[in-house]
């Protein structure tokens, strides 16, 4: 175990120096108690909490490509918990509380910056939704304020709050504890923590199929051979439907491209996160200085990790109207990820229709913020073979019972 011993990584606001390695690249063993499919943020966090909270360390995390190279490398890193419905507020607030102590817990810098998030209202419907959500948030112990346009201007002076624009700012909800984190450091922190506790992180290992014994799954067929498993936990975001098909069941998911972009490095001009549902853009400024802008999903189904340019164009038009100062910035890079969207815009967490299989999917456009929270409840669900109380409302069965958690348009999400 000496290889897995604690390494010293400088903890400060500075970027850590690149260590030799944070985890080893092992050959897969023939069998694990738990095989997690997908080494993104959720898969890594799940492995970490399986080991840390439940002492389950005979765990492999299988990754088709490289560690945290999918949506974990492509998201816009926004972290918040100001969701409308009780079930959502509970799981996202659980995540936010974990984020607040995560740097100490992982012993690794993740650059979590609680700079607040503004969700702008541009019409009467937005105003009513925002005020209602502030009240709902407060009842759930989530910090939330309603700001008038003048108060919005004080929080974010570069925002155009004049009344003569096409979509004037009529107010905003503000969650001061929201913020951003450095997504790759988050992945590396969880990976290192899981590795130190004995978890095998196996990259370049694509799952082609599953082996069953009767109703129960007994392992996975991979590009690196068969790997036996006591339990299989899917954590593959946009590719979950593909894996479910191999297992013989269908999920209420549609995979869509979701695009984002960054500008060149600029002086710090934006010290909060600004989201606008109606004009469809969300923006923050990374520590290094890039403006990070996200769009809504492309309408069509797609696994191509790219979308259509008019979506970027629309997002930029919205950004420039809200922030006239951005009109001189240049787009450095655009990209797309594949997000799995569920019918009620809420995740699906829990047992799958095949014994020994667990699903964690349907996070759509908002999975990053949940990373530690979902890792925690998913690990608990797998460890005990029953849903964690926070995961229970998000079970697949809700589509049959009708107990949906309808966050479409309710969650301040720019879908």
């Amino acid at each position: 175990m000496s290889e897995r011993s604690e390494r010293t990584v400088r903890r400060s606001d500075e970027t850590p120096e690149h260590p030799d390695f944070l985890w080893r690249d092992p050959e897969p063993r023939r069998h694990y108690d738990v095989v997690i499919v997908g080494a993104g943020g959720h898969g890594l966090a799940t492995a970490y909490y399986l080991a840390k909270n439940h002492g389950i360390t005979d765990v492999a995390v299988l990754e088709r490509g490289w560690l945290a190279g999918g949506n974990m490398a492509r998201n816009t890193t926004i972290i918040r918990s100001n969701y409308l419905w009780d079930e959502s507020a509970a799981i996202y607030e659980h995540a936010l509380k974990l984020w607040e102590g995560l740097e100490d817990d992982l012993g690794y810098p993740i650059r979590f910056s609680q700079r607040g998030v503004l969700n702008l209202a541009h019409n009467l419907g937005d105003v009513r939704e925002g005020r209602r959500r502030v009240n709902a948030n407060r009842l759930n112990g989530v910090d939330a304020e309603w700001l008038t346009p003048d108060e919005v201007k004080k929080v974010c002076p570069i925002l155009n709050t004049s009344p003569d624009v096409r979509y004037p700012v009529l107010g905003a909800t503000f969650q001061p504890r929201a913020g951003i984190a450095k997504h790759d450091y988050v992945a590396w922190g969880f990976a290192r923590g899981a590795y130190q506790r004995g978890v095998d992180l196996i990259q370049n290992c694509e799952v082609h199929g599953f082996r069953r014994d009767g109703e129960r799954v007994v392992g996975v067929e991979t590009s690196r051979g068969f790997i036996g498993a006591g339990a299989v936990a899917l954590s593959a975001a946009g590719h979950t439907s593909v894996l479910a098909e191999q297992l013989g069941f269908r999920l209420p998911l549609q995979s869509h491209p979701l695009q984002a972009l960054v500008s060149e490095l600029l002086e710090q001009v934006l010290d909060t996160v600004v989201m606008s549902n109606s004009v469809h853009v969300y923006v923050s400024q990374a520590h290094k200085g890039e403006l990070v802008l996200g769009a809504g999903i492309d309408a069509y189904n797609g696994y191509g990790q790219r979308g259509s340019f008019h979506v970027i164009e629309q997002q930029m038009a919205a950004a420039v109207e809200l922030f006239p100062i951005f009109s001189r910035a240049h787009v450095l890079r655009t990209w797309g990820g594949i997000v799995d969207v569920s019918p009620d815009a809420s995740p699906i967490i829990g047992r799958a229709p095949v014994d020994g299989v667990y699903v964690n999917c349907g996070w759509g456009t908002g999975g990053f913020k949940a990373t530690p929270g979902v890792g925690w409840v998913y690990a608990d669900t797998i460890a005990h073979g029953r849903p964690h109380p926070l995961a229970e409302p998000f079970a697949l069965e809700r589509f049959v019972t009708g107990a949906l958690i309808d966050e479409h348009g309710a969650a301040a999400v720019a879908h």
């Binding site: 439907s241 549609q254 069509y300 008019h310 589509f399 049959v400 009708g402």
Partner: protein, 83 residues
Amino acid sequence: MLRIDCPWCGPRDETEFRYGGQADVFYPEDPSSLDDAAWAEYVFVRGNPKGWFAERWVHVAGCRRWFNTERHTVTYEFREAAP
């Protein structure tokens, strides 16, 4: 941006169209015989293949007519829908 071949108007930009999701999803023939699970399947579950997908589009900014086509969900390439 996708270039989409409207069967009536010819190839046009994606911005003239709206997406309609999976093609050939029919209302149950005998609705009263469906249990909750079957309704859930009809209402919420659609194909989500990685590969060729039979889907619908509507030419909203053109002839406003619906049509079926097939598109590859990785390459985004179109081919004529199987009859």
